[in-house]
Subunit: 351 residues, 2 copies
Amino acid sequence: MRDTHLDEEAPVSAADPNLYLDLGPFPLASGHVLPEARLAYQTAGTLNAAKDNAVLLPHMYSGTADFMHAFIGEGRPLDPSRYFFVLPAQLGSGTSSSPSNTPPPYDRGSFPAVATSDDVRAQHRLVTEHLGIERLVMVSGWSMGGQQTLEWAVRYPEVVERAVPFAATLRNPDHCTVFCDLHTDALRSDPAWNGGSYERSSDVHVGLRRHAQAFALMGASSHMYRAEAWRELGFTSRDGFVQGFLQAYFLPMDPNDLLCQARKWRSSDVALEHGGDLAAAVARVTAKVTDVAFTGDLFFPPEDIRNDAALIPGATYEEIGSVWGHFTMFNLRAEDTAQIDAVYAKALADA
Amino acid sequence: MRDTHLDEEAPVSAADPNLYLDLGPFPLASGHVLPEARLAYQTAGTLNAAKDNAVLLPHMYSGTADFMHAFIGEGRPLDPSRYFFVLPAQLGSGTSSSPSNTPPPYDRGSFPAVATSDDVRAQHRLVTEHLGIERLVMVSGWSMGGQQTLEWAVRYPEVVERAVPFAATLRNPDHCTVFCDLHTDALRSDPAWNGGSYERSSDVHVGLRRHAQAFALMGASSHMYRAEAWRELGFTSRDGFVQGFLQAYFLPMDPNDLLCQARKWRSSDVALEHGGDLAAAVARVTAKVTDVAFTGDLFFPPEDIRNDAALIPGATYEEIGSVWGHFTMFNLRAEDTAQIDAVYAKALADA
């Protein structure tokens, strides 16, 4: 268990790339108060004196702040010589307050439910109170990071100048909820899960493998398997890909942390705090929104995102992608990264 | 356990609509010989004196011969006043030789693997040896019934005049195999499955429910959930549909029987006995093939079926369907049935 009272500015060790903001007792949307909550984050680039060059990049399910560095680079649209990037870690992802790092009685399977809005309120405190930033040039993320992006645009229109959600919807699609129910049940199906009270996360490896199988099914498109695009990653068989890519990716993770995130994903809905009135919620948006779908995405199909874009005032709809479907954002093909960069270049053209 | 030595022509009881053909010791593609194998079947209509009005309708995964009656009706393209319909039951489906009705040592989890070609060879004996039919006006089925239809066209071109597979491919798509791995593992994930040695199939209800969830995810399209088309079936919530439709459908079934069928489905490939040479296999086809895809089908996507149709000599590609995706063939909407009937009318126009 890490000490939750950390110096706010210094990484805990040379090996830990994260900074930590102590949030103190943090009230959650559920009504629970999480005592001694903390938000992990990373940064890239330099905040200018006017504090008007900040970009916020929340990450996806199962990810960490590390992941979002993949879109940042000198000479690329997300250029650290121009922008200051803030990469917050999701609550429940293992570095920010999570089932795996919170002391009893809020530990492991007893960690309270977290909502997308909780992350966004915590990130808002980081950005405004802690970093002193009043306006964000852009908020952008993929999947659950995209859900947070949309929540930002609805909740804090006065802060968000541009919102670029990739593969995410205002309200989790029902079919995607059926998927969340399946992959969370896959984790819990392992008797070693034991209601969340396992000793070591690796004890739940059977559940983690089943969970990986669900992502093997839904993360990429049928076209990817037809084209055997997994060969591009160096695998020599389909099953070798499922094991060497998906199982290898998920096996080191903590099941309770994944379940905490999945519960948040499943319930994500920008209208939750607007009495379920989606029109009222999106009417708040003043950011320039670029709503990006991936062709063949089985989690957040293009049709759902196109419908969202039609609801959001002034939003632009973009569809890109490859055989990788939802996994397009994993940068598995250079042309996927190029398409994502092109979206960023266009979204930031007037920045 | 039913006696496998049954009168070949008489139903076992008033409650059993099936006829049974005793196949004797039946050699399987795997090399195993299934002793005292039997094939259950049903018929509709009357075989004419020339024996040239027969249509064979193999059924899908989890189905029974009962199901295929749904496409037969006076005044419809599959008219029992004109055609004689033979509705064979799959090996492994509970009436033909199956894990659930075979005595030790071939019982339950120890039932040998069955291939699509085994069903088709058994059905060929029924049609030619037992019923004395030399030519079939048409073979047609859905999903695994479509896999059998394609196997018929490749294996017995001299018998099949028309082949109309719905939502099936010459070789199971890799993505569909990933799905089979997921839903079979869902069944086996229940500790009560116990390697197939449970006492009562209802003991494995948790596994059967998990298996149902996989079909809730993949059987219909994302569009169906977006449109809440489950309301048309009388359900008042998404979860009510999953429980009341999918769980209710699968819960009465036998897990070993489902696993036997799924193993067959997963490995289905008309080229298996042609050294994997798909072109050589399809070159044998002389039937008039109408290859039918369902829009939004997540098991057998239209693109795979379109590719197949381009390979099969003279085949016609048709795409129909509704928000129900793979489940279009369940006749959940009157217009789905109407589209299927239209395909049959066209395929049989020159019959």
